[in-house]
């Protein structure tokens, strides 16, 4: 009895202390206008190095699973089915360019490091996907939501998030040791499910939304959260990633109930996600980071350039040079999903170098991305002047 109580006390003390540290970091992030994600990662690294906690690893893995489900569900909620269809229609070319330009460097670097194909594919995912949450927040903070290039930037984000529907199941099956045929079949199935969910949501979204709604908050909270975990569990049984299904559930809910669910579940998401980022940092041995720093910086340099190019291509029809530069730099930040993807690899015990490399890479891009785009305005105007023939002549005359 005493032992249990003491154990309980230890657990509460540890979790409470970690939460308070995170609260301080979130406060700093809010004051400086930065995303708290890199700070949470750093906190995890530091805690793991100085005061390794005794929390049960099983508990961490369950917590991470719930965090991934909530992260993807809330992302799906942000988009309506019409947003998705509109983005696909407008930005499929840019989306493909984005995939090619940013997935390839990760894969090539992974292979060059002598990794197997699978961890290399994971690293490709890490470098491919920009952080929707960081980018959306930066655009809002910098007052760019009204800009002409912004719809194109947001479309790129939607397509990237949507690409997770075939990608995550593919990776999950391959990690579990399944054959490539099964993996491709499941990946196709998930894509079909996504299309089905979008069509259903466009036609009958109101129906589901009405069934789920209730004036009492707790009823809505318990229904939605319960449904999510059930759907996630069923998906895992079929080894289609739980996160993908959660994303689809989020997509298919719209209107009033989506608003309620967002209100009710975002505190839960914040709590679980914060823990998730910290625990990802906890799992990494800080001493392995100097070894991957060189590669991470190289990858950062290359993929910053490729994201710039992506943004440039995505907005070349709607915007002038400064707008294109703003779009490209806005996309640089990687974040939550890069961590989710490498977390999958860590859970399956693939390639020890992946986690430290991904963490370092996310830290670099998540911090530099928002800074780069902040200064893109001035740089863009100068670049435009330099590029225009008259500007060049003026420059020469001087």
């Amino acid at each position: 009895m005493v032992g249990i109580a003491a154990g309980g006390a230890g657990f509460l003390l540890e979790v409470g202390a970690v939460l308070l540290v995170l609260a301080v970091l979130a406060r700093i992030a809010a004051r400086t206008g930065f995303s708290p994600i890199p700070l949470y990662l750093l906190a995890g690294l530091a805690i793991g190095y100085f005061v390794p906690p005794s929390i049960d690893p099983d508990l961490i893995s369950i917590e991470s699973q719930v965090a991934v489900i909530l992260l993807l569900f809330m992302l799906g909620l942000e988009y309506t089915a019409d947003d998705v269809v509109g983005s696909l229609r407008a930005g499929v070319g840019a989306g493909l360019a984005d995939l090619f330009l940013n997935f390839t460097p990760g894969v090539l670097v992974g292979l060059a490091l002598g990794w197997d194909t699978l961890p290399a594919l994971l690293l490709g995912g890490v470098t491919y996907i920009s952080s929707s949450s960081i980018v959306a927040k930066v655009l809002d903070d910098l007052g760019r939501l009204g800009n002409l290039e912004t719809p194109a930037v947001l479309s790129v984000l939607v397509i990237e998030d949507l690409a997770m529907a075939p990608y995550l199941p593919l990776i999950a099956v391959l990690l579990a040791g399944g054959g490539i045929v099964t993996a491709l079949a499941l990946s196709l199935a998930a894509t079909g499910l996504a299309v089905g969910a979008i069509v259903l949501a466009r036609r009958h979204g109101q129906l589901l939304s009405r069934r789920l709604s209730h004036p009492k908050s707790e009823v809505v909270l318990l229904t939605v959260f319960g449904l999510l975990l059930l759907a996630g569990g069923a998906a895992e049984l079929l080894s289609v990633s739980a996160g993908v299904v959660a994303f689809l559930v989020g997509l298919s809910i719209s209107g009033a109930i989506a608003e309620r669910a967002r209100e009710l579940l975002s505190p839960l998401r914040d709590l679980f996600a914060a823990f998730f980022f910290v625990s990802f940092g906890l799992l990494i041995d800080v001493r392995t980071i100097p070894g991957v720093l060189g590669v991470a910086v190289l990858l950062w340099g290359v993929t910053t350039a490729t994201k710039l190019l992506t943004g440039w291509l995505a907005t070349r029809r709607v915007s002038a040079v400064p707008g294109r530069l703003r779009a490209g730099t806005a996309l640089v930040a990687r974040g939550e999903f890069s961590i989710v993807i490498s977390g999958l690899g860590v859970a399956a015990g693939a390639e020890a170098g992946l986690a430290p490399l991904a963490a370092t890479y996310v830290l670099l891009t998540a911090i530099s991305g928002p800074l780069l785009t902040r200064y893109a305005d001035g740089a863009g105007i100068r670049l435009a002047r330099w590029l225009s023939p008259r500007g060049k002549a003026a420059e020469r005359a001087r």
Partner: protein, 161 residues
């Protein structure tokens, strides 16, 4: 009237823009959350714009009112009478309303401020004194009596979220 362009901002809301007769490009970003921003395109860089005003739902309504684009329909449907601390109002049940399909008992017991549904108009038929097990449907008009705060709360409940 100037042509108004409408662009979706996935995950954010909708962006509207138009050019005034004076040549200024005005942009409005309407967030899903109800927040609203009024922006002006900069002359140096026509792709970029700078924020002029940030408005919440109520502010936006007030501004629209002042500018003369008053939400006429809403004003007309809301025919409110007040006497001696009691208010009576005819409230339509919104198409997406949470309370559609809920019983009057559920609805009346959601808020602390008291208000009751004393009659319901459905398909031009009036149902006086509906029992508390009566369920509302989208398109119904509820006749609500209560304190002004209670009726206001009920109006919000019946309208949508």
């Amino acid at each position: 009237m100037a042509d108004i362009n409408e662009t979706r901002l996935p995950g954010v809301g909708i962006r509207f823009d138009f050019t005034t007769r004076g040549g200024a490009r005005v942009v409005v970003v309407n967030h899903h959350s109800g927040r609203c921003e009024l922006l002006l395109c900069s002359e140096q860089d026509p792709d970029a714009c700078h924020e002029v005003l940030r408005l919440d739902k109520e502010d936006a309504r007030a501004l629209a009112e002042v500018l003369g684009q008053s939400q006429v329909t809403e004003e007309v449907t809301s025919l409110r009478l007040s006497m001696q601390g009691l208010t009576i109002d005819w409230l339509p049940v919104g198409a997406e309303a949470l309370c559609a399909g809920r019983s009057l008992y559920d609805i009346e017991h959601k808020d602390e401020d008291p208000a009751s549904v004393v009659a319901v108009i459905r398909d031009k038929m009036t149902i006086p004194a509906p029992p508390s097990s009566f369920t509302l449907q989208a398109g119904d008009v509820a006749i609500v009596v209560g304190t002004p705060a209670g009726v206001e709360a009920m109006a919000i409940l019946l309208r949508s979220l």
